[in-house]
């Protein structure tokens, strides 16, 4: 496709030079290292508090499950927020800074412009995420004992699909918005809708892309992957639909002055 490779190389270089990569490394590095450490230290910290008469705190010995709790919570909150803020400006910024009007008059297909944004962002998030999960596994293993690597790989895969969904929403809203703030707002709003499905429509919960964020312990305990497939497949479907919609919108979009 005209310009896809050129644009992809440019995007990867931009992710590295504009410090997006650094932010992702710090974020995922922090989550992967801090999750097992916090799980290990919380009982110690609570024990060190001054004793209150009448209040007895009995805490069980921390296990890898507490680290997984921390991991899922951090990825679902800090991870989501940072990914939205890092990538929601990707396309809107090119409109605002008017770099777009220097690129589109070149023989670069509009679809190549959009797809390169998706591919480069997904590659960056995927590589950093996989490395951070390896770090998480070894930290948790050495601090809190062993757990099923197979179940953890499945969990990581479902969490990655969730993060790519958030990334795709950010890029889609960045395509249709003329500012980063609007793209951030729309992405948060859509994510709230997914979360509401779990809270208000219990029967539909399994089909929500957010399902893995609330039921991860079941996956780690019994490895019942089939319960998580509907949510993951819906997430993949939504990703593909939003990529397609981004291309369609962008093909018809006039570049404003």
């Amino acid at each position: 496709m005209n310009g896809l490779v050129t644009m992809f190389k440019k995007e990867i270089l931009e992710i590295i030079r504009s410090k997006k990569l650094l932010i992702l490394i710090i974020l995922f590095g922090f989550i992967s290292i801090s999750s097992p450490i916090i799980a290990k230290l919380i009982p110690v910290l609570l024990k060190s508090l001054p004793e209150t008469p009448g209040l007895v705190i009995n805490l069980p010995t921390p296990t890898w499950k507490d680290a997984i709790d921390q991991l899922a919570k951090n990825l679902g909150q800090i991870g989501m927020v940072v990914i939205i803020f890092v990538f929601a400006g990707s396309i809107a910024d090119e409109k605002v800074k008017r770099t777009l009007e220097m690129v589109l008059p070149k023989p670069i297909k509009r679809s190549a412009f959009i797809l390169s944004k998706y591919f480069a962002s997904i590659v960056a998030v995927k590589v950093i995420f996989i490395l951070s999960m390896v770090v998480f596994y070894f930290y948790t293993f050495s601090l809190l004992g062993s757990f099923s690597i197979l179940h953890f790989i499945w969990l990581s895969l479902f969490l990655l699909i969730y993060l790519i969904l958030i990334l795709s929403l950010s890029l889609f809203f960045s395509t249709i918005s003329s500012s980063q703030i609007a793209a951030v707002g729309f992405t948060f709003l859509t994510e709230v809708v997914f979360a509401m499905i779990i809270v208000y429509f219990k029967k539909l919960a399994k089909y929500s892309p957010d399902y893995v964020l609330s039921h991860y312990q079941e996956l780690m305990a019994n490895g019942n992957v089939s319960d998580f497939l509907p949510g993951a497949l819906i997430a993949i479907l939504i990703i593909l639909i939003f990529v397609g919609l981004s291309v369609q919108f962008f093909n018809r979009q006039e570049v404003e002055r």
Binding site: E101, P107, I108, E254
Partner: protein, 307 residues
Amino acid sequence: MAAINISNLSKKFGDFSAVSDLSFSVTENHIVGFLGPNGAGKTTTIRMLIGLSKPTSGQIEIAGKEITFGDSSSNHLFGYLPEQPSFYGWMTGREYLNFAGESFGLQLAERKNRINELLDLVDLKEAGKKRIVTYSNGMKQRLGIAQALINKPKVLIMDEPVSALDPIGRREVLSIIGKLKKEMTIFLSTHILSDVDRICDDIVMINKGKLVTTSSLPDLKSKYAAEVLEVEFESDPETIINVLEKESWAKKIKKDGTTLRIWLDDENAIRANQPLKFFANCNIGIIRYGLTLPDIEDIFVALLEGK
């Protein structure tokens, strides 16, 4: 074959017509000034030409190929420079040219040679290694010209290429455009009329989205070649203007400081020395007295006034 051919081009924003039924063509290897006052529709037309904006109706052809909104397959035919080019500031000038060359499908060896040639042309050989974020406006404009020329396009389209520059930057950019003369068709919008006089072969003038005229510059000047008498005085000639207006040979008078420009109604007036006799009786010292032709600014105003 015309380098650019525009037929019945229109662009509406709601009820507002920014460009209405515009038709003109641009001759190959000419430098063409696209003129008009602010808000005339110059930038809107250019944005349709390069595929950033979708025409409401009409056709555009560049080098014989129809331009369709959203289709980039004709983009190798032209290079484009906006009024204030915006680059990826994190790239160096050389990297941006490499990116532009790659997007036009130039192979590595060809790309390297072309980048060196262009950095030489726009005098950015040293600065090419620096990040664009550190460039001045003039340097960015010169880099903008280089990226627009990367694939030796048949047509170079520039939107107000010197408007945002200081006099030195303007001179540098105009000198580069001058060097490109005859190598390609250059279509540039501007409102700096002295620049048009300096570098353009032809002009296309629009106002309120409609064509006012299209012509070669010499033809236009000869068409509006009414002789103009230019007289410079040693003091302000304001007091004599009222009397001068009553003279039958003075069609139109324009005052610029201590200089009067008088459009003559009858060429015989000069032969009969009527103006000289008139000014001799005015008791103001004359520093300079001579005939001249109207400049492009005079023509521009006359055309816009529908004269």
